[in-house]
Symmetry: C2
Subunit: 362 residues, 2 copies
């Protein structure tokens, strides 16, 4: 098992050429590639290059729109409702987040929701756009049903992620980017492939019972909300998943709950609902970044329970992954992923991922 | 062990007369009493009459201000920064939530943060004010450090609750009102008094290790964030607790993290930070309450894993408690609570809780 190092620039270019080859507009392809590369760069491989073929397929089959741009249905100085026109998620996401930031510059906050959107990659990408303007950013999306509500045994909510990014000093920041399920489906799949059990509190079986067997979760069961069982506070995670649905599908007039199409089944348009928020700290108490820096320093400075596992703040693991990429001079992918992507490139008639001459041990 | 039934009106009046007796302004006392009665009415006894003596003491000692009203430091059409002037939490909370709703009527959203505030009772009280205007409401507050960050062994965050309320049809609603810790401290105390163990995932000992022994949590340990250990996703709850801190102490320029005074130690002013939000669904897609009703119906209509435990949505347990109070014709308190409160009344020189002629079995 070995990994292949590819420069960030080449991954960006590769995704762009694959997407353009199937008819995506150049600037839409660029937006998508930027989000996916950022996913990998931050170490969230499940939301990066790995998922490119899904987007390629969405454009090829026409289930996702190639032409047009998002439009504003309705707006006020602080809010907007956007029709994503069934375009690629990152096209809709960038449009909405830019709009939210513009409004936050004017009146201190921008709260923008979109219907007619598609998978948009990592939620954190959009929240982090606000950091460039020294603002707090937030982003929420609903997703296909994979989560079983507390006391239930059927999936009626997505992993419904939320992201909140807040600027600190000297380029430092707090970046929370989390699913409202205990874990992502990919983690359960990984344990199943390895033949490992999963911790109690990740998922339940078809009878709604918490299980340590990943097979039970994947075959008729489902993920459970953060907090796990009812006794350990799973109803809170369930409530948070519902909150995301209220901000997304319900507020935007998009699909919601079990009306969202089944995961990986693309028989009809996704019509996802998404929510994007920018908040300008300048409208509140002076000294925001100074306090943020202190807040982060308090947590990071704590004596850890285990000397080998320092106390972190949200965004620190991703920061470490970015530093690793920079040290290596690129993003390292499992060789199987690279081979799979190059088959994909062949099918759509573009050149493969290059250079791939640097093989590093896993 | 028996319980005593007291009319909601009498609880309201009792709290008002105790507070006024120690020098609280009549309308401030009324605001506080309304929040505490609502806490009990909803079944959150830890945030109701039970806590009145804390507020009485805060006014008596002068650690909380009797005179003045909150003032707006800074505002835009959509935002405001409020100085709570160290007044009672509910006085600050009502002022801010009214302001947020006013802004949401004008520009679709109002995002108001306050510094110089105090304990404000249940967070849900403020979020629910928005329901009266068919709006989404949110409320957040920081609190004294009781929660140990993931990987740490020292409390640097409060239970930092968040509340989100959204209107459905015919007076129905979604009301999420939750601490970002796995449970409230009171639940751990209750188990300790009964000599029971606690579920894994509620708290940790002084070494930061998850424990089932409530004594260990209370003696040098602490509560853990929703999700419990790192393996079961506790870092997400920790991130949510930090998010609340960003919206409250950091954005408002109030005390934050371990700078907030120790729980139950009132040697200095609290200077809590709080955040209040109103969002007007009319600024977004038409048909909000119809979709909300469907979303709630989907969850409530699910076949439950256990036929005796129906699937609920956030706010349903509280709704059941309110129905119970209405059926009984009042709120039922443990006789020890009533006796304790009447001693308190005697000390401040007001008449006791009346009538208390209806004793009901527990």
């Amino acid at each position: 098992m070995s990994r292949c190092l590819i420069s960030q620039k080449e991954v960006q270019s590769f995704i762009e050429r694959c997407m353009v080859a199937v008819g995506t507009k150049q600037h839409h392809a660029r937006s998508l590639a930027e989000v996916l590369v950022e996913g990998d760069h931050r170490g969230h491989y499940s939301h990066g290059l790995n998922r490119m073929d899904m987007y390629v397929k969405d454009i090829q089959t026409g289930i996702c729109a190639k032409d047009g741009e998002p439009v504003i249905d309705k707006e006020s100085p602080a809010t907007a409702l956007v029709n994503g026109k069934n375009l690629l998620g990152p096209v809709v996401g960038n449009f909405c987040m830019d709009l939210a930031i513009k409004k936050a510059k004017e009146v201190g906050i921008g709260w923008v929701v979109a219907h007619g959107s598609n998978h948009y990659g990592i939620a954190g990408y959009y929240a982090m756009q606000a950091l460039k303007e020294n603002m707090i950013g937030m982003s929420f999306t609903n997703t296909s049903p994979l989560v079983v509500p507390t006391r239930g045994k059927e999936c009626t909510l997505g992993t419904n992620p939320l992201s909140v990014a807040a600027p600190s000093k000297d380029g430092d920041s707090f970046v929370l980017d989390m699913a409202t399920s205990a874990v992502a489906l990919g983690k359960v799949e990984l344990h199943e492939r390895r033949g490992d059990s999963i911790p109690e509190g990740w998922g339940c079986d078809a009878h709604g019972k918490i299980t340590a067997d990943p097979k039970q979760v994947l075959n008729g069961g489902g993920l459970v909300p953060i907090g796990g069982s009812e006794a350990t506070g799973g109803y809170k995670g369930y409530g948070l998943g519902m909150m995301v649905e209220v901000f997304c599908g319900i507020l935007a007039g998009a699909k919601y709950s079990n009306h969202v199409r089944t995961w990986k089944v693309t028989d009809r348009v996704a019509d996802l609902g998404q929510c994007f928020v920018a908040i300008n700290p300048e409208n509140f108490a002076p000294g925001f970044t100074t306090r943020m820096a202190d807040l982060l320093a308090i947590q990071r400075g704590l004596e850890p329970a285990d000397p080998d596992a320092p106390v972190l703040t949200a965004g620190d693991p991703e920061r470490a992954n970015i530093a690793k990429c920079e040290k290596l001079g690129g993003i390292s992918y499992h060789i199987n992923v690279v081979n799979y992507m190059n088959e994909c490139a062949k099918r759509v008639g573009v050149s493969p991922l290059l250079p791939c001459d640097k093989i590093i041990p896993e």
